[in-house]
């Protein structure tokens, strides 16, 4: 059996669209890894996360979890294993922070069951992890955009999945909260073995948290590999069309963009 989440030769398109936003994508998410998806706007990062999260169906190919086609897994069972945070989730009007975070327990409860003590502990833990315990009773429309983003992340954490799919989780967060969120993800990965797949536009951030990187371009996988092998000046020319230097020394990766550049390959 193949463990982990896997997309094989996946072609997928959004509802109503007549072209594939993902074209023959093969990506294997290893258990207990942090995998970063990078690529320009429109390269297919969000679509891949949606397909892995069972939000859109494969037109061709298959997405499997531990060797089982995810279409044969019930939505509730899947949600206990895999949680997804979209890029711009719709915030229900009047909902409090605590209620939103509590939604994360739905896959673990019966349809009419009330919260158990374990559910309440999970909510409290998630609120604490995203530093919103003090805002638990506030309506979501009365907190800042960054706090709202953290509340949504709290809901995902409260779901206690094995795998988190996060679409640009640092968007709308200030610098300190960006780094705290990324540190939290690293901690969850190291301490609980949480598998994290996240899309990021900041390549240096991606390099700082991820074990491996998937580079997407125009709905295709350009390359999958370690940070050192995937994040290169060659890739930045081909995929982002920028002339840049990349420095991987001292456990930090720095990208210095010099200006626009001509791609080496005519994709």
């Amino acid at each position: 059996m193949t463990l982990g989440l896997r997309a094989d030769r996946l072609c997928a398109r959004h509802a109503g669209s007549d072209f594939d936003a993902l074209r023959d994508v093969t990506v294997r998410v290893e258990p207990h890894e942090i995998l970063a998806l990078v690529g320009p706007n429109g390269s297919g990062k969000s679509t891949l996360l949606s397909a892995l999260g069972r939000e859109i169906r494969a037109r061709e190919g298959v997405v499997s979890l531990d060797g089982v086609d995810i279409r044969s897994i019930s939505r509730r069972a899947y949600a206990r294993r895999v949680a997804r945070l979209p890029q711009s989730p719709e915030t229900p009007e009047g909902l409090t922070v605590e209620a939103l975070v509590g939604y994360g327990r739905n896959p673990h409860k019966g349809p009419l069951a009330s919260q158990s003590s374990r559910d309440r502990e999970a909510v409290a833990r998630a609120l604490d992890q995203v530093e919103l315990s003090g805002h638990r009773s506030r309506p979501l429309d009365q907190i800042s955009g960054g706090e709202r983003r953290r509340a949504w992340l709290g809901m995902v954490l409260c779901q206690e999945p094995d795998i988190m799919l996060l679409d640009e989780p640092t968007v709308a967060l200030d610098l300190r909260h960006q780094w705290e969120l990324l540190e939290l993800l690293v901690r969850l990965n190291e301490e609980r073995g949480m598998t994290v797949v996240l899309s990021l536009h900041d390549l240096e951030q991606a390099a700082s948290v991820a074990h491996r990187m998937v580079v997407l371009v125009r709905g295709r996988v350009y390359e999958v590999g370690s940070i050192d092998s995937a994040l290169t000046p060659e890739m930045l020319l081909d995929v982002f069309r920028v002339d840049a230097a990349v420095d991987h020394t001292n456990d930090f990766t720095q990208v210095h963009v010099r200006g626009p550049g001509d791609p080496l390959r005519a994709f």
């Binding site: 072609c11 007549d18 295709r220 350009y222 390359e223 994709f267």
Partner: protein
Amino acid sequence: MTTKSNPKPFPKEFLDWQVALRHHTMVERNGTPHMGVVPLVTVKRPGVSLGVISHSIVCGLLPNAEQLDAKTREFQTLYDEFSSQGAKTLYDRGLSYLVDYYESAADFDPDSVTTLLPDDSALTQALAAEPTCALVFNVFDPNESNKLGAPRCQQIEAVAELHRDGPVYDNVWWHNTLFHGKADGHVVVRFRHERSWNTCFGGFEALDG
């Protein structure tokens, strides 16, 4: 497929030039198309401004009839073998394969160039309605003149065949897929060289619609 052409072989120097350009592209340009393989297609389109549509395309050469199916299978085998390693690896493998591919004009169809277009594009619709067209190859790149001879300009008059399946479609589709990924919803256009008098670029008839 629209078929009403009576094709004639290209002038020899044109096909030799196209093969040489493509070899040069693989060896010196990492596969990036040279402007010499990007003609401007002009076709009548009554009802639109000026009565014509002009659009640049990247065109390809078709293997000759004896080699067509075998080359298609080789493209497909390359794709199946390397596509799971990512577009970069696949591109590089495809490029290595094509370095020795463009050696002799005799290996290629003597009267056609091809391209792949979205099925619903304005140019596809125009060619479906009126297959007679002109391809203008403009090359004015002094940097290439030492290797490829003097810069040149060439007009090829042609009749377009649209292919949505079959050996020609498969060959162009798989060739394209090696470098650009699967292109569903596309049609292959085979431009077959045919002399005519009513599509001369700059003539007045096209403008009359």
